[in-house]
Symmetry: C2
Subunit: 484 residues, 2 copies
């Protein structure tokens, strides 16, 4: 197979046309000042963070209430107009791209934190709130919302629902779906529903909340979210552990769990990730990195512990060190207890993606396998890269088995980039599935991984998913062409 | 509305008939010795633990492999025969009752733990394994499977998937769905699928794993489950805290969380629950209960802490005591650190249901609200009981907001029991929904709560659920008449 994803999606469906009458109706619903048809605005909403893809919408709407979205959806459903909901636009899989043109509904005016309920440790929030803004607001009440995607400073919490975002703390605290209690959703047919109730346990019918979480905006437009929260853990320490091989690093992770410790961060960085990031930090940001990279070191783990009790964290840290020193080929452990040291470690980790992208266009893959199989996966990725002519940088949430693979365009021709490299990615996905894994751990399928779905899922699974889509969206207007 | 649930379900669908030819085909598939049509066996599979309900199946099958179930389902689908999958038969909502007669598929021969993967902290298990057997097997490897329904000694782990079971430890560790990574499922149309992969994070299409978990055996027959596991927490302590009112007890729960403590158990018992259970333990089991019940005490919490580090547990316990003593009207806290004391507390808690059922038939409700609203709920339950002429005993997983309400038949006539009391339960459910709650926290809807679904869920929600059911089961043969 040869895949040109950027040209893959257009007009596979028979959609209706946006007419002046419909535009007038939109203006009546949301107000003239929130309907945008000019080139500049359409262009601004034509992209997300997925490579250099761009698809122009016909119109951008910025509604403020679920009722407005409901009216918009009824019109779009009647006229079979494609609708693409949009959060912060930071998707790496093409989730926010209006591949069929049509209507973009931007959620940016749904930006209110409606309630932080300290009695029940819950919060109700609109979907256009920026993730980090929400985290900080609950932290002020001594509460903790753990999911923390790297884009947390600009992504919308609604996008985190769409893609079931994770981040470094997922390894201890779980992903977005583990915090969602209830969703207010506008269905493609215009009804407004709550998917469940604001309760911690629920065995009352099928779990629509969990079905919609991670469905990439294809089943409904989420307008409000009720999250459960945790008490805030105020203390943390971090260890940087150098390993002589990727395999040793991955084996160590399981050993630490077996020892009874549950770290709040367990990040893997292959040697090249650190080298490139240290170079980038010095080259572009004038920041020197103090971390040594002896010749025999091939991989590092950042291991973070958190809590409210320093003694018990120190006991866990000692257990980790004892486990590592007794069973693994490691270099000298850096024990980061000062804020400056911790900040340097996490700055390094957070800047891997920017560092990679600063010198080359890249495709960001996001595969996940049982964590014990990570070493084989990394080896396979490098072998396939050699064969198909691309280089890659591997890093990520190893405690979850979730590996980020940034594939570099560098000097690859556009033609090869859109065909041969995609074929190579297909080979990586086959290996991922052979190792018991899946295409995406937290970025979603969107359009970028859609052509590969049959590698991971059988026809019966895909049929069920298509039928579910049809149950929610009989005319197939909402984020059409995503996932499958 | 007046509801006679026991007579509510029969033959609402047009099903086909079991013929001698079909029976012969079943014998070919599973072997003659695993096809049961005699009265004794049919009778044994006509009941679960839901009141005194009984529905006779036409035939009971005991297959051994997913392939056998696939062949059975293809025949049943072709002839539109109703099929009821059955685990340990401990359902409290009628989940395992063959309300349309037809075929019962008992999962009792799917009783193997296939793999305990200590590298990835996962286990693969067949659905007929008893929950406690599974817990003990992983404990031997120093691993922990937290969900622990009261019926864990006899229920099947597959039933826990169907109902999304919880138990006391859910308050810290989550419910069954939080541990399910992947399911092997035979669809009603006969295909065998895996719903996902054995990975900790997955954003690859709609989450069929989470959709099937808690679907009460209506979407497919689960044959294998992959669970994630945790390191085993070897130490625990328990506190019994007496409160002067239900409200104080419930308010204390949130305060403990806000103080930064996450207990591994947070069980509420109203005064009458303890009185009845102490009486029962002495009357029927000749065991004296040492717990004092001063006149001013209306409710108790059992608060359990667990972990591997005694110091940090003691620090948490001190934090709890400080929080309670500074802000709440409590009696003397019993600090149970000996095994005998802890065992007495949990024996008391576990025996509430048996104690209630020993002296009266009962209806076991299982409502869930945001935990801060529990006091209002308990008050409302008592008021409604007075109005509709029934008494109830309230207890349960208060940390989750999950209240068990055992409604006593005592001297109520059969007529009133099946109509007036059901109407009163409807009033309780309305109050639950008004308080932001749901009909079931962990027992499921089955047939017992089905007539009340429209109190909790709007028509659009129910339509989506029916359409999802149709996508999986176009002929409506699998556990038909359950949930909706």
């Amino acid at each position: 197979m040869s895949l040109d994803i950027a040209n893959f999606e257009k007009s596979t469906n028979k959609f209706g046309k946006l007419t002046p009458q419909i535009l007038q109706d939109f203006e009546k619903i949301v107000g003239k000042e929130y309907v945008f048809t000019d080139d500049k605005n359409r262009d601004a909403y034509s992209r997300d963070h997925t490579e250099d893809y761009s698809f122009l919408p016909d119109v951008v709407l910025k509604p403020r209430t679920p009722q407005e979205i409901s009216q918009i959806m009824k019109i779009c459903n009647e006229h079979v107009l494609p609708v693409t909901p949009r959060g912060g636009g930071t998707s790496l899989s093409g989730g926010a791209l209006p591949t069929n043109n049509g209507v973009v509904i931007s959620m940016e005016r749904f930006n209110e934190i409606l309630e932080i309920d300290t009695l029940n440790l819950q919060a109700t929030v609109e979907t256009g709130v920026i993730t980090e803004v929400f985290q900080n607001a609950v932290k002020e009440k001594n509460l903790f919302y753990p999911p923390d995607p790297a884009s947390k400073g600009t992504c919308f919490i609604g996008g985190n629902i769409s893609h079931n975002s994770g981040g470094p703390k997922a390894v201890k605290y779980g992903v977005t779906r583990d915090y969602v209690l209830n969703l207010e959703v506008v269905l493609p047919t215009g009804e407004i529903i709550w998917t469940g109730a604001n309760v911690l346990k629920n065995s009352t019918g099928y779990n629509l909340t969990q079905l919609i979480t991670g469905s990439e905006g294809t089943l409904g437009i989420v307008t409000k979210i009720v999250f459960k929260l945790r008490p805030y853990p105020h203390k943390n320490i971090a260890l940087l552990v150098p390993f002589e091989s990727n395999e040793e690093a991955c084996r160590a992770i399981s050993a630490i769990y077996i020892a009874g410790v549950t770290p709040s961060g367990m990040e893997f960085m292959e040697r090249e990730a650190i080298e490139r990031t240290a170079f980038y930090l010095e080259d572009k940001m004038n920041q020197k990195t103090s971390i040594d990279l002896p010749d025999n070191i091939q991989a590092h783990l950042i291991i973070e512990l958190d809590g409210n009790n320093e003694e018990s964290m120190m006991i866990d840290a000692e257990k980790i060190v004892e486990t590592l020193e007794n069973g693994f080929k490691i270099g000298e452990i850096l024990f980061a207890d000062s804020d400056a040291q911790k900040e340097e470690l996490w700055r390094l980790r957070r800047n891997i993606s920017p560092a990679v992208n600063a010198y080359s266009l890249s495709k960001a893959e996001d595969v996940v396998v049982p964590r014990g199989n990570l070493p084989q996966l990394i080896t396979a990725i490098k072998t396939i890269g050699n064969e198909y002519g691309f280089r890659s940088v591997c890093f990520g949430h190893a405690g979850d088995g979730n590996l980020h693979v940034n594939i570099l365009k560098e000097n690859i021709s556009d033609q090869d980039w859109n065909t041969k490299v995609n074929d190579g990615i297909g080979e990586i996905f086959k290996e991922v599935v052979r190792l018991g894994g899946m295409l995406s751990g937290e970025h979603g399928i969107g359009i970028a991984k859609r052509p590969y779905m049959s590698i991971a899922l059988g026809e019966a699974n895909l049929r069920l998913m298509r039928e579910i889509k049809k149950a929610f969206d009989p005319n197939g207007i909402l984020n059409a062409g995503k996932i499958f």
